[in-house]
Structures are given as structure tokens and as C-alpha cells.
Symmetry: C2
DNA sequence: CTGTTAGCGCTTTCAG
DNA sequence: CTGAAAGCGCTAACAG
């Protein structure tokens, strides 16, 4: 930086202010400094900036799974000039360890949570960081459940099971109850968000006294597993069991599953934009993202 | 750190040495300092360490796509105490920008490349960083192509097309040529590593004077696209066209495609281990990972 | 084996 | 609006 300062004929402090867009620099000086810096291919050393109490130029992204959403968020953050510190907190071990150690202190300018569904204690831990945080998670899932349920209810279904991916901490059966359905507790089940997980969960669902006529799965891969397993068991989809995925992964499209899209995907960039606004000291109002119900071949009128 | 030093009754330098496992500290002192540090929940400030010329405690992970491999690598790096700086360099725009700007200078202790297939120029750029680099990419793909080709040749196929994902810079038809096959250039084609990409590429392949009897696809999703499109065109798989995927994504399993597994997946952790060895100044010899051919329903004897 | 002394490259008062 | 000086929390070179 002092080289740039020398080349531009100003002090390092002025270079610092100019490059960061701090007020108190004449427009002419700022322009000149910027030009020189660009010419010299100079970039602020983030470590030093951070150490001196300035910005850290880094955002922590905590995600429960590596999804396309992550790619979207990464791109948006990168473009805004932030480093992406990735934490994949899929299983409860790594997750617990993270929140025990709380390793983010004084290291990031903000936190982006992707489908993390924090508990109160976890939220409190992050709050100690005193940096802006944006979460994309269960509120969206909540709406998705509602959209899926409405679709199924319109088709006459009354017996609907809910398959939630590990890491989804809350239950959502109250949404179904609100819709006037009777929801036995054994119809809310958790499984790993994989095809295998979906296959396994079908066994549990078949064990109960009653069989649901429809299943809503938060995970696209699990929905596929359910689809495969139900068929292998000699039942047909959608005639015997309708399936709705709440995640529009490509795999659901290939298999032809009805899905609610929009909850996870497109929100990455939107969330990043909000986060950056917060970091700059602005305010954000949560704008509702439209959810799209894509009806394919895995749902039909109950018989 | 000076607080810890005071509490432990030593100097900051000794704390630094003790905590980093540097030689020149008595085992008793190291133990004592460690205890005090743990009790005070002290952790080295990475920024300051980095600025002072020490380790940076960060590894850049460059990946062309967010895959399960990424999750594996992240976990292994995290466990070793490194931050993961994520760069998703999927499209050529972001990729080019990255290598133009070379933003990693003096910021990471190592680089992990996941399916990046660097060009010479790109490799040279990274080499300037002067930090250990490990790549998981085309060498593995090369072996995969060979395994797939051997399988198809054993089934009597002589007309084999190669579909490579964007970002795969090299062609691999010489592997087929070595196997004694005649490989017209129009049978090596590139497409985006998505179902859509695979569907589109089928059109190109059908345009030529001759139709291949088998297709090898580096991308699992594209393989599925090829599978779907070929069938939609009224041809059957595998009777008219055999398909082998070189990527054992879950989706290929669901659709029932023959695949060569092991090239991309399990190598994440292995690569991280190698990288850490390099960082510590050790040597690594590339150990061959076994590739597994999983024969499913998309390949059969040529008729 | 341990302590002391200089910075690393910034940002931030505080003066001018 | 700009500059000088102090210091962020560490590591490294040098003494002892």
C-alpha cells in the first residue's frame, strides 16, 4: 500500500480511505488513487485489514449439505469481493463441534446459513459474533409444506405422511393439522437426504396401523428413494401413494416427481444481496419468494 | 496470547512456539501452556499469524462443481484445523476471472483442485503461489475412460463416442485409438454436465454419417440426459446404444446406468491427506485408487 | 530452552 | 481534505 501511496503521491492513509470508499477523500484524489492501484494490480491485504480492525472481506457459509444453492451463494459473494469460508455441517457431530467451538469469532463480516434450521442455543451462539446473519431455511420449508399439502388435499388426500431430512429440526405436522387433517405422530419421520434414506423410511411408514395415501418429502433424493421402494414393494405411484418433493433437484425431474420448487434454489443470490445490505448497515425486509408447484406424474386424485 | 503468556508465566513467543508444536520448547512447558490456553479458550488469531509470516491456516478449494467430493474434502480439511476458502469455478467466465486475477497470493497454505483440469497457463499461475497443490482430475478420468472402453470393447463395441463435460480440456480419444478403435473426431463432443446438456449432445451425435453403438460420458447427469433422449428418439438403451457414465453420481444408480466409480468420489479425503503431508514438508507418491466398474442396465453386447 | 525486539500491512485516531 | 503516528496479535531473528 505504501508503494501505491508513493506512486500516487499521497499517504498510505489516503490510499486506504480512497480504496475503501471511506468519506473524507476528494473525488479527484480517490479517482487518481484507484487508477494507480489498478495499474499496479494492487489489492488490499485482507489479513492486515482485518488485524487492524477493518473489514475482514470474508463471509462464513454454513450449510447442511452441498447443494446448487451453495454454488449460487458462492458466486454472488465472490462477485461482491468476499471470501467464502465454507462449513459443511451435515451430520450432528460436525454441527455440534462447530457450535461448541464457535470458531468464527472476529473472522468474518457476516454469516449465511443454508438450510441449517438453527436451535435457539445455536442462534444465540452465532449472535455473539455480532455480525449480520441471514438464514435460508425452514420458513421456506414451512411454506413449501403448505403448498404441497394444499395440492394433495385438493386431490382428495386426507392421509398424508411427512418425511423430513435429517437436520430439519422442527416438525411441520401442525401445518397439516391446521388444514384440518388428522396426523398421527408416526407419520412424521426423519431420514437422511439420500435415495437410500428414502428407501429405508418406506419400511417405517408401512409398519403403522394405517398407510398414508400421500407422502411429502423435504429431500428430493429421499423422494426418489420413496418412489423406488414403493414400486418395488408392488405398489404403484401415484395410484397407491402420491409423492411430492419439496426440493426441485434435477433428480426429481428425471424421475418425474411432483415437486415444489423455489424454496431452496433461487434464494441464494437473494439472500446474499440481503446480507450485503445488512453489512453496509442497511435494512432488509424479507420478500416472499414465489414457490412453484410442478405437477408431474407422482401425484393423483386419491381413490 | 500475551494474556495466556502471563497466566502461564512465560513469554508470548513461548506460547506461540508451544501451541504450534514448534521445536525448542520443553515438553513440560508445552503441556502447561496448552492447558492454560485451553482453559482460557484461547485460539491463535489466524490473521495475525498470517500477517507475521506464519501459517495461514487456510486452504483454497477450487472446484468445477459442488459435488459430494467437496463435502468430503471440507470435512477432512476442517478436521485438520484449516479454513476452507471455496471457489466454485464452474463456468468459463468465473474461471477465467479467477486465473486473471489470481487472488490467492499470500492467502492460503495450499490449494486443492477438484475436477478442474487445468490448462498449462492456469497451472503456471497457481505455481506462482508457491504453495502445495493437489489435483483430483483428468488423470483419474483417463483411467476411467480406459476402464469404460475395455468394458465396451469386451462387449464387442467398436464405435464408441466420448461425451466430455465442459471444463474437461483434454480429449481422450487417443485412449480409444490405443485400444485399436477407429475414432472419427466428431465422436468426441463436449456438453454441460447436466441432464439438459446430455440431451442436447445426442442431437449432435445423431447428425454424423455413422452412429456410434456406445457412448462414454464423463458426467453422470449428462449420461442420464443421453439415456433419456436416446429413448425419446425411439431407440432403446442398451440394445441400440450402450451408455457408460464415468461418474457414479446417485442419479446414475437410480436410472440404472453402467458406471465407473471411484474416480471422483472417495478421493477427497485421500487428496487432503496428501496435501497436508506436502504442507508439512513431506513427500507423497500418488497411490492408485481402484476404479470400480458397476455394470447395470445401460450396456450390452453389440448386435 | 526461553525471552526480547522488530516488524508483517493495514486502519484509526489525532493533528493540521 | 490529508498526513503522521500508534498499534491490531502474532512470528522470527537474535540473544542469552
Amino acid at each position: 500500500m505504501s508503494d501505491v501511496a508513493k506512486a500516487a503521491g499521497v499517504s498510505a492513509a489516503t490510499v486506504s480511505r480512497a480504496l475503501r470508499g471511506e468519506p473524507g477523500v476528494s473525488e479527484a484524489t480517490r479517482q487518481h488513487v484507484s487508477d494507480v492501484a489498478r495499474r499496479m494490480k494492487y489489492a488490499i491485504a485482507r489479513d492486515a485489514s482485518s488485524l487492524a480492525g477493518g473489514r475482514r472481506y470474508a463471509i462464513a457459509v454454513l450449510t447442511s449439505t452441498v447443494s446448487p444453492l451453495l454454488a449460487g451463494a458462492e458466486g454472488a459473494l465472490r462477485q461482491a469481493g468476499y471470501d467464502v469460508l465454507l462449513y459443511v455441517l451435515g451430520d450432528s457431530t460436525s454441527r455440534q463441534r462447530f457450535f461448541d467451538e464457535n470458531p468464527l469469532g472476529r473472522r468474518v463480516d457476516g454469516v449465511l446459513l443454508l438450510s441449517m434450521n438453527l436451535t435457539e442455543a445455536e442462534s444465540a451462539g452465532l449472535a455473539e459474533l455480532a455480525v449480520p446473519t441471514i438464514a435460508i431455511d425452514d420458513n421456506d420449508l414451512r411454506d413449501s409444506v403448505r403448498v404441497a399439502a394444499e395440492h394433495l388435499i385438493a386431490l382428495g388426500h386426507r392421509d398424508i405422511a411427512l418425511v423430513l431430512a435429517d437436520g430439519v429440526d422442527e416438525s411441520y405436522d401442525e401445518i397439516l393439522v391446521q388444514a384440518g387433517l388428522d396426523v398421527p405422530p408416526e407419520w412424521t419421520v426423519w431420514c437422511s437426504p439420500t435415495v437410500d434414506g428414502g428407501e429405508q423410511v418406506v419400511e417405517v411408514l408401512l409398519d403403522g396401523p394405517r398407510m398414508p395415501t400421500a407422502v411429502i418429502s423435504s429431500s428430493g433424493a429421499a423422494a426418489v428413494g420413496i418412489f423406488l421402494r414403493v414400486q418395488r414393494d408392488g405398489r404403484s405411484v401415484p395410484e397407491d401413494v402420491s409423492i411430492v418433493s419439496l426440493d426441485g433437484q434435477e433428480i426429481t425431474r428425471v424421475v418425474g416427481l411432483t415437486a415444489v420448487e423455489g424454496a431452496f434454489r433461487e434464494q441464494g443470490e437473494h439472500a446474499v444481496a440481503d446480507l450485503l445490505t445488512l453489512i453496509r448497515g442497511g435494512e432488509v425486509t424479507p420478500a416472499d419468494q414465489p414457490l412453484r408447484l410442478i405437477v408431474r406424474n407422482s401425484t393423483t386424485r386419491v381413490r
